[in-house]
């Protein structure tokens, strides 16, 4: 993926290998979680790979992306190494957030991945702020804001959509509708028959996309983004997808049937893109096996990397509370840096 490459030129085989990397990464994360190498909460993206892959294939590398807590895939899709992602899950200093963020807070500033946000709906206003900055600076970038079907009933989501429409900001709201907000089905959480109708209430154009089909996701987003680059405006897509695993590692997903899961597995996004490419003579079975082998090796290596990486040092505990370089005339740098340490005196 080179910068500024138009969407149609993104290599589909490369995107398939990204989807494989995501899946193998998540499978390995699941295993390492069970082995208690990973703490806290851990939400897996398996089944939804075509959504993020299609989205990043449709935009430039300097466009902004931001998502919720099911974020490993988004970091990988934005070129964060499997090493840095796995190390973050292990809480190591080499992690993509230095081991300070964890599973739900992956960031990659250099590659314009703006998190990794764990409060449902709370990052949607942040996304609008990113889009505001684009318009403020008169740039032709676009912000892609991913969130789940659970976010659409939060106040922050509604306020953000209204602001985006009011200020005509360049943003695509991408609802990854995997049918369940934790264990609550959309039917039990949302008064609308279809989520996309939320957009209409804010005069934002909305469409439904098949999230198991990489090409459909990519082409729809590419079309929207091209319109936004001509004249900034918000847009909304409801991407219908499915997560094969529970909400998080601790969720056996007993609220849905095996039949339902099997139905979606038969429509697997990786299998589907593979079949499309094979049918068109762009991919052989051997090549696919090679891609999969490489993904597995990369991920296995990332576990080794994470294991041998150092813990974040205790003596840097206060280094990431306040940014240095604050303009505080008269305050010595030591004092400025020691601010957090000073305030901690009460916990001795």
């Amino acid at each position: 993926m080179t910068s500024m490459q138009p969407a149609e030129q993104r290599d589909e085989v490369e995107m398939l290998s990204l989807m494989l990397l995501i899946r193998r990464f998540e499978e390995r994360a699941s295993q390492q979680y069970q082995a208690q190498k990973i703490g806290g909460f851990c939400h897996l993206y398996i089944g939804q790979e075509a959504v993020v892959a299609g989205a990043v294939a449709a935009v430039r590398d300097d466009d902004y992306i931001i998502t919720a807590y099911r974020d490993h895939a988004h970091a990988l899709a934005r070129g964060t190494s499997a090493d840095a992602c796995m190390a973050e899950l292990f809480g190591k200093e080499t992690g993509c957030s230095r081991g300070l963020g964890g599973s739900m807070h992956f960031f990659n500033r250099q590659n314009h991945m703006y998190g990794g946000h764990a409060i449902v709906g709370a990052h949607v206003p942040l996304a609008v702020g990113l889009a505001f900055a684009i318009k403020y600076r008169d740039e032709d970038r676009v912000t892609l804001c991913f969130f789940g079907d659970g976010a659409i009933n939060q106040g922050a989501f509604h306020e953000a959509l209204n602001l985006a429409a009011l200020y005509k900001l360049p943003i695509v709201f991408i609802c990854e509708n995997n049918l369940f907000a934790m264990g609550t089905s959309v039917k039990r959480s949302t008064s609308l028959k279809q989520i996309v109708d939320r957009a209409e209430g804010y005069d934002i154009p909305g469409e439904i996309v098949d999230g198991m089909n990489f090409r459909e996701v990519r082409d729809k987003i590419a079309e929207i983004v091209s319109s936004i680059r001509k004249e900034p405006h918000p847009a909304f897509i409801e991407v219908r997808t499915y997560r094969y695993r529970g909400h998080s590692m601790s969720d056996p997903a007993s609220y849905r049937t095996k039949q339902e899961l099997e139905k979606y597995r038969l429509d697997d996004p990786i299998t589907r893109l593979r079949a499309q490419l094979t049918r068109e003579g762009k991919l052989t079975n051997e090549q696919f096996d090679q891609l999969d082998k490489k993904a597995k090796e990369t991920v296995l290596a990332s576990v080794k990397f994470a294991e041998k990486s150092p813990q974040p040092p205790l003596d840097k505990l206060y280094d990431y509370t306040y940014a240095n370089g604050a303009v505080e005339p008269g305050m010595s740098p030591e004092k400025s840096k020691g601010l957090a340490a000073d305030t901690a005196a009460t916990t001795e």
């Binding site: 703006y114 990794g116 996304a127 609008v128 990113l130 303009v327 305050m331 601010l339």
Partner: protein, 327 residues
């Protein structure tokens, strides 16, 4: 030096920072076309235009979050809350997103944002509009909190806040907006560092530690105490976080007696923190237990007489001072 109002001082600070840095913008309810609910942003729309002075709908959670997002990519938003009582609607953005981002991202994203507006009780606004939010925000790692009491401090602290690379809350006070004070002329750059208290009045018998609206109260009380031959030193904290321990300890080492006059409620309030630090660090300097004068621990009543009874008053400060002075 010339005499201007607290409101004008803030207005000058905003204008100067907007002029100096194209990344600075002002956003909030009624800040543009209405010229500010309290006229702090008077004239700024005419001068800087709608790209940089931006009216919002009544949507605090939304526009506070917008500000944090814009700050992630290097803009320097000034977000006005019509009152900090309304910041509670945006609490998640101010407490969860702004100060946590730098840590959560392993130092990749600092958030250079200023949240400002009136804070604390005004006059008969009732329970929902009278919150003194400083202890809530000072308890959050990653935020800085300042509380200017004079026009000079208002201007100097707001300008510093805008230039800080972290989220800073400038807690103003509605009842101070029309108060007057001497401020350097506009051609003189006025930056007052965060974390620096100021002795507003020298004294020798007792240290009255105060901030924001309790500063004019303490100064007026000191005059009355003078009549009774008690010399009170008035220490204005100016910043709650960072807290200027040095200035507090210096004053206490001089007077050996302390009354803290705070505008918040008592439980886990600012005074509790100050009190802890004094006894922990300079216990031997104290000649009497410290007394705190704060709001009563009740939601603010509308009734005028009851509201007065809830707020710190000259009578309560004088009684506290006499008690610590064994007078």
């Amino acid at each position: 030096m010339r005499e201007i109002t607290y409101r004008q001082a803030l207005n000058e600070a905003l204008a100067e920072e907007l002029e100096r840095d194209p990344n600075v913008f002002l956003m909030g309810e009624e800040v543009a076309e209405y010229n500010g609910a309290y006229k702090v942003s008077q004239g700024l729309l005419d001068r800087f235009g709608p790209r940089r002075i931006i009216d919002t709908p009544i949507s605090e959670n939304g526009f506070a979050g917008l500000g944090v997002g814009a700050a992630m990519v290097g803009l320097r938003p000034i977000i006005e809350f019509m009152t900090f009582s309304f910041s509670l609607v945006a609490f998640d953005q101010v407490v969860n997103n702004a100060p946590n981002m730098f840590t959560m991202s392993g130092g990749q994203f600092n958030i250079p944002i200023t949240f400002r507006g009136p804070n604390g009780p005004a006059h008969q606004l009732g329970a929902t509009h009278s919150h003194a939010t400083e202890p809530l925000y000072a308890n959050t790692p990653g935020l800085k909190v300042c509380t200017p009491a004079t026009p000079r401090d208002a201007k100097g602290l707001l300008k510093t806040a805008v230039r800080d690379n972290n989220p800073v809350l400038v807690l103003e006070a509605e009842l101070l907006y029309s108060s007057k004070g001497m401020v350097e002329p506009p051609d003189e750059e006025l930056l007052i560092p965060l974390g620096r208290a100021e002795v507003k009045r020298e004294g020798s018998d007792v240290s009255i530690i105060c901030y924001s609206q309790t500063v004019p109260l303490a100064l007026a009380t000191a005059q009355k105490l003078e009549d009774e031959d008690i010399s009170a030193e008035i220490v204005d904290l100016r910043s709650i976080k960072p807290l200027d321990e040095r200035a507090i300890f210096d004053s206490v080492a001089k007077t050996h007696r302390v009354v803290i006059v705070e505008q918040d409620c008592p439980f886990c309030g600012v005074g509790a923190e100050v009190c802890y630090r004094i006894q922990k660090n300079i216990f031997d300097e104290l000649d009497a237990p410290i007394i705190r004068v704060s709001q009563e621990d009740v939601p603010m009543p509308y009734n005028e007489r009851l509201e007065k009874a809830v707020l710190p008053s000259a009578d309560r400060v004088i009684a506290a001072v006499k008690k610590v002075c064994y007078a």
